[in-house]
Symmetry: C2
Subunit: 300 residues, 2 copies
C-alpha cells in the first residue's frame, strides 16, 4: 500500500496574490503532489497550503516552496497579527493512509536537515519529531517571534536542531515536525446562552482539565441567535470525535440545553468518521481494509 | 474524478479449483482491474468474484470471464443447491465512488448486448437495468432454473433482452444488471432467546412489513450462547445502517434485551459508515469531498 503523507506549511505572506501563487506553483509543479487547499488571511498576513502525495514528492514540494519563499519574503518588513518566527513558519507532516507517525517524523528530520543545509536557515523540530519536552509545543518555540529570535537563539537551550546558530537575515527560522491530522469541529447549541458554551468549552479542553487532545472556545453566532462550542481535535485516535460529542451533549443537558447540530470544517480523515460509526453501531472486529475504498487503494 | 465500478459475477462452478483459477485469471489479466475477493462454495457448487476498476476495464474483465466459463462449464452436468440458470449466472454492476447507478445501468446493457452477440447466450436484464416490473427480481427470472429454462423462454413475456430466443446448450442464460452495493450486517443480542432474534428480524425485513431494503433472519450462535439478527442491506442510501441499528435496538429493548455488538461481514462502502457518523454526530452540511481520501481520489 502506498504511504500517503500530507504537508501543511504556513507562510508569512497573506496579502500579495502573485507571491502566494508563486509559492503554491512550486508545490503543484511536483509530479504526484496534489494541492488540496490554500487559504490566505490578510490580517494575519499568512497563508496555509495543504498538499499530499508520496513522502519523497511531498518533501520535494516543501523544499521548492521554501526556495520560492526565500526569494520573495523578507521577515524584516513583515507585519501581521499571527505569531511567527520565519518566512516558512511551520511545516507539519501528517500521516494519511498507509503512512505512520514514525514515517512522518523521519520525513520531518530529513526535510529539516536538507533545508538547513541548502538554504542556511536554522530549523527547529517540534511535536512528535522533537525529543525535547521544552521544544514540543509550537507556542514555546515561537515565543518572542521573529523580532526576538536572535536574542532567543543566543540563550541556553535554543540552539536549532539543524543549521546555523543565528537567524537567517530575511527568512528567520523554520519549525518542522510531525503531527496527527487536525479536525476543526464545531457543535452548535440550541440556546443563545454564551455562558453555557463557554462552560462546556472549559469542561472539554485540555488546558482547563478536559480531554488531552481538545482545544475549545465558546462563541456567539449572533446572526443565528445561537452559541457554538468551537474545537480543534488534535489527535482523533486518542481523543475520538464521538467521545467529545457525547461529553458536550451531557454537559449541555446539565444546563437544560440540547445540541442543535455539529459541523466539520474542511477536511477530515476517513478513519475519524469510521471510528464514530464503529462506536455508535457497536461494531466489533472491524478492520480498515473492510472499507471498499481502502481495499481498492491498497491494491493500487 | 474517476468513475469506479464494482462487478460481482456468480459462476456455476465451486468445486474445481483449476477452472475457478482460470476464470479468475481472466479478470486479473485486465490492466486496471483489481480482484478484491473470491469465494467458492462446494455445496452450492458456485463461485463469486468481486472486482473493481474503470467501467470499460471492468466490462472487458466480465467478458473475458464469460469466454473462459463458456469453454469450461457445462450446465447439463451441473448440480448444486443454489438456484441458477446459467454458467455465468448473474453479473451485477455496482457503482462505487464517482460512478452513478445510471452509469452502471448503461454498462450492464452494453455488456449484456456484447456477450449475447459474441457468445450467442440469451441475456436478461434485472434490478435497476430492467424496465419490466416482472423481470426486476433475480428470483423471478431464475425460477425454473436451468432445467426449466427452455420451456420458460418459449412462454409469453420471457423472450430475453438480448441474444437468441432459446438457451445456449451448455451455458444456459445470463442475467446482468445494476444494483447498489450490498452490506452484510449482523447484530448480536445479549440473550440466548432465539424467538427474540426471529421477532426482530421479522420486524425489520421488507418481506414482513419492515424496511424496503432489508433482508433479515434470526439465528442461534450456539457456541457463544447468544442469538443474532443476520441481515443484508441492499440499499444503504435509502435504508441506512444507523436507522436499522436503532430499530433493532428499540425492538430488542421491548423484550428486555440489549445489543451486545454488531459486525460488518466483508466489504462496506465508505459512504455507508460516513452516513452513520453524520447521523449520530448530528453533522450538518457535510460534503463527501471533505473526506480527505475522497478529495485525494478526486484529484487522481
Amino acid at each position: 500500500m502506498a504511504k500517503l503523507v500530507e504537508c501543511v506549511p504556513n507562510f508569512s505572506e497573506g496579502r500579495d496574490a502573485e507571491t502566494i501563487d508563486a509559492i503554491a506553483g512550486r508545490v503543484s509543479a511536483v509530479a504526484g503532489v496534489h494541492l488540496l487547499d490554500r487559504t490566505s488571511d490578510r490580517d494575519h498576513n499568512r497563508s496555509v497550503l495543504t498538499f499530499a502525495g508520496l513522502p519523497d514528492a511531498v518533501a520535494e514540494a516543501a523544499e521548492g516552496a521554501m526556495e520560492e519563499a526565500l526569494l520573495r519574503l523578507d521577515m524584516r518588513v513583515h507585519e501581521g497579527q499571527h505569531p511567527r518566527i520565519g518566512a516558512v513558519d511551520v511545516v507539519p507532516f501528517v500521516p494519511i493512509d498507509g503512512a505512520t507517525m514514525a514515517d512522518c517524523v523521519a520525513l520531518a528530520k530529513k526535510t529539516g536537515a536538507a533545508i538547513a543545509d541548502r538554504f542556511h536557515v536554522p530549523v527547529y523540530l517540534y511535536e512528535e519529531a522533537s525529543a525535547n519536552p521544552a521544544r514540543k509545543n509550537l507556542e514555546d518555540i515561537r515565543r518572542g517571534e521573529f523580532e526576538g529570535l536572535a536574542a532567543k537563539m543566543a540563550t541556553a537551550g535554543w540552539a536549532p536542531d539543524y543549521g546555523p546558530a543565528a537567524p537567517h537575515p530575511t527568512a528567520g527560522a523554520m519549525v518542522v515536525g510531525a503531527r496527527m491530522a487536525l479536525i476543526a469541529y464545531n457543535i452548535n447549541l440550541a440556546t443563545n446562552r454564551l455562558d453555557v458554551a463557554k462552560k462546556i468549552a472549559a469542561a472539554i479542553r485540555h488546558s482547563s482539565g478536559g480531554f488531552r487532545y481538545v482545544k475549545a472556545a465558546g462563541f456567539m453566532l449572533a446572526d443565528r441567535g445561537i452559541v457554538q462550542v468551537s474545537m480543534n481535535l488534535t489527535n482523533y485516535e486518542k481523543t475520538p470525535i464521538a467521545r467529545v460529542f457525547e461529553t458536550v451533549k451531557r454537559e449541555a443537558a446539565r444546563h437544560g440545553v440540547a445540541i442543535l447540530e455539529s459541523e466539520i470544517v474542511g477536511l477530515v480523515p476517513s478513519a475519524a468518521l469510521t471510528a464514530a460509526a464503529e462506536f455508535y453501531l457497536q461494531i466489533e472486529g472491524f478492520k480498515a481494509d473492510q472499507v471498499l475504498e481502502n481495499k481498492l487503494r491498497e491494491m493500487t
